[in-house]
């Protein structure tokens, strides 16, 4: 446990130090990469609540990620077109303010998770995996063929949304914002795991029958966790769309779901900093191998295989040992 805490602190500091160093050396792209790591890690933190704490293997989290992204675009696009968001029943203006967009993305992700989870949690195990995957695909196809908001072309938001008191166009400031959100989410995730709800979720994951016999309905507990998980991933989607100033159905594709899951597993399932370590390693591999060969994904696949087969517990598990944080 102590070893893991030290490792977590080291990861948190490294993720902060790299962009600061990059700023000093005039390498703004490294800051962009670090921002990407922070945002993808946030999506992973969301998934980790379902996957690690709740034992729900969701292969459809791209749905929430994409919905968060589209929530951002739906709110911000009318502003750049100088049009109201809607005129009926009341006129509502769009917004370029991040706090409002974040709230909307979180709510949208949570609501989508409520709908998808309510149906999917009627099943379990491998059914659950396939059903979440299928629901994700359903939204993906819908986004492609629905002409509003650009369909397959996606939608560009030419200027990054604003945050009171910050210049978000400045890469380092936007990074700081994302890093802050990630840290808050990590803190929340840790508090949640130790709370009464976290205990009930652990019970529902490890022994649903027993939980029911204790008066705790596993379905309700898991669904609540799934909604929280979807909400956090939705928030990550809004930030990701802001990073790229662009949203498209690609965010909803099942490869995205697979990649978010890869971050979590690479880092270590149910480890607090697992998604951060996993996202960082993934981005590093992508850029390092990508510079190596056109067929870099082949090596990425082999590396992943090796990690699953021989380094169980992911990066953090391998370095910090088997113990899981419970005290």
């Amino acid at each position: 446990m102590r070893r893991e805490a030290i490792l977590n602190a080291a990861i948190a500091i490294a993720l902060l130090a790299v962009p600061l160093a990059a700023q000093a050396m005039g390498e703004p792209f490294v800051i962009t990469l670090a921002t990407k790591v922070a945002i993808l890690a946030l999506a992973g933190v969301g998934l980790n609540i379902a996957l690690g704490l709740g034992g729900m293997v969701s292969l459809g989290h791209a749905a929430f990620f994409g919905i968060g992204g589209y929530a951002m675009a739906v709110l911000a696009a009318p502003v750049q077109a100088y049009e109201p968001l809607m005129t009926w029943p009341v006129e509502v203006a769009g917004t370029k303010s991040m706090p409002i967009i974040w709230l909307a993305a979180t709510l949208a992700g949570g609501l989508a998770a409520l709908a998808i989870g309510a149906l999917s949690l009627r099943t379990s195990g491998v059914y659950f995996i396939m059903i979440t995957l299928a629901f994700g695909q359903m939204l993906y196809y819908f986004a492609i063929s629905w002409p509003a908001y650009g369909g397959e072309d996606g939608l560009s938001i030419y200027v990054r949304n604003g945050f009171p008191g910050l210049n978000t166009l400045e890469p380092l400031q936007f990074f700081a914002l994302c890093y802050g959100v990630l840290m808050v989410a990590l803190l929340f995730s840790r508090v949640l795991a130790r709370s009464r709800f976290g205990l009930a979720l652990a019970g529902a994951r490890q022994n649903p029958l027993r939980s029911a016999a204790l008066g705790i309905r596993p379905y309700s507990v898991k669904l609540t966790a799934f909604v929280i998980s979807g909400a956090i991933t939705g928030l990550a989607g809004a930030l990701f769309a802001d990073l790229n100033r662009f949203v498209s159905p690609a965010m909803l594709s099942w490869q995205t779901s697979g990649e978010i899951m890869v971050f979590v597993i690479l880092g270590g399932v149910a480890r607090l900093f697992g998604p951060v370590a996993g996202a960082a390693l993934f981005i590093l591999l992508e850029h390092w191998l990508g510079g190596f060969s056109e067929y870099w994904k082949l090596f990425l696949g082999l590396a992943l295989l090796g990690i699953v087969l021989f380094a169980r517990g992911g990066l953090i598990g391998t370095i910090a040992g088997r113990e899981v944080a419970h005290d």
């Binding site: 002409p147 662009f246 056109e294």
Partner: protein, 379 residues
Amino acid sequence: MNASKSLLVAAAALAMAGMAQAEPVKVGMITTLSGGGASLGIDTRDGFMLAVKRAGNPDLEVVIEDDQQKPDIAVQIADKMIQSEKVDLLTGIVWSNLAMAVVPAATAQGKFYLSTNAAPSALAGKGCNPNYFSVSYQNDNLHEAAGAYAAKAGITKAFIMAPNYPAGQDSLAGFKRFYEGEVVGEVYTQLGQTDYAGEIAQIRASGADGVFIFLPGGMGISFVKQYADSGVGLQLIGPAFSFDQSIIQAMGDAAVGVLNGANWSPDLDNAANAAFVAGFAEEYGRLPSVYAAYGYDTANLLLSAMGKASVTDADAFRAALREADFDSVRGEFAFNASQHPIQDLYVREVVRDGDILTNRIVGVAIEDRGHAYEDECKM
């Protein structure tokens, strides 16, 4: 030297003596080199690099990266090229959705973008920009060529079909813009669809005398094979993307006789084109596609502008680009006010030439065509 991120500095030996401005230009090429759409990006790159190699201009440096056909990756590569590599100019994107993700932000940061392929209507009309040039066409052009020629080819009752996404919707609109016959059926398919039995049955039942399709990549291959096997046998017409060099080999004889709207063909009769086709075949051992042709033209346009102005002087460089003073493989070539080409549009037919399939021009569809969105461009 690695493949996907190659820094290519052309040999100095052939440096042109008469070059006034020796200001180096750094070009960032973002294109698709992996995944299902890789063949298009590879042709774009190879066409572009062929021109660069032939020019042998030591002041031109090209950085190439793979966008994996993902918009978010494309945006990040663009950020990287602009922020870290400090490129002067971007090019190479194949897909409209990726272009929409990258181009507005890049031009807003004062970088030039030369399109080797994707040219969505949003960038031709309201979203036109002084730093954005489309060297290829405007997206609707090849559909317009097919539409304009369809009646001439005896198609009076057309069944038209495209995937249900923005480019598909634009394509059907483009076809109808110059089509003089009647549209008896209009169907949107799913993007990525592989089985067209249902649509073919509808075609058979529609009473049409010809079929227009826009089904890029693997979708087109699937459709044409199934269509040929169905025995429906009505004349097929489409844009060149669906019947291009890289694709028709996989269709086999099913593609022979299909008409397609284009602005370039390997048999187009001009000296620049003959040299290009022969050079490409010699260099890479295959016939070039339209993507290769656009890549080649884009590089030559850039080289011509480099000979006239320094890239550090954006206005002068832009003016130099607008002159389009290069030998296009498409023959006559000029830019209109929105900086899209004014060019002849043709219709080609797929023919078998010995062992391989290729395209031959059968007629001119529209002469000196610009595009439909010129009035919307306020520049």
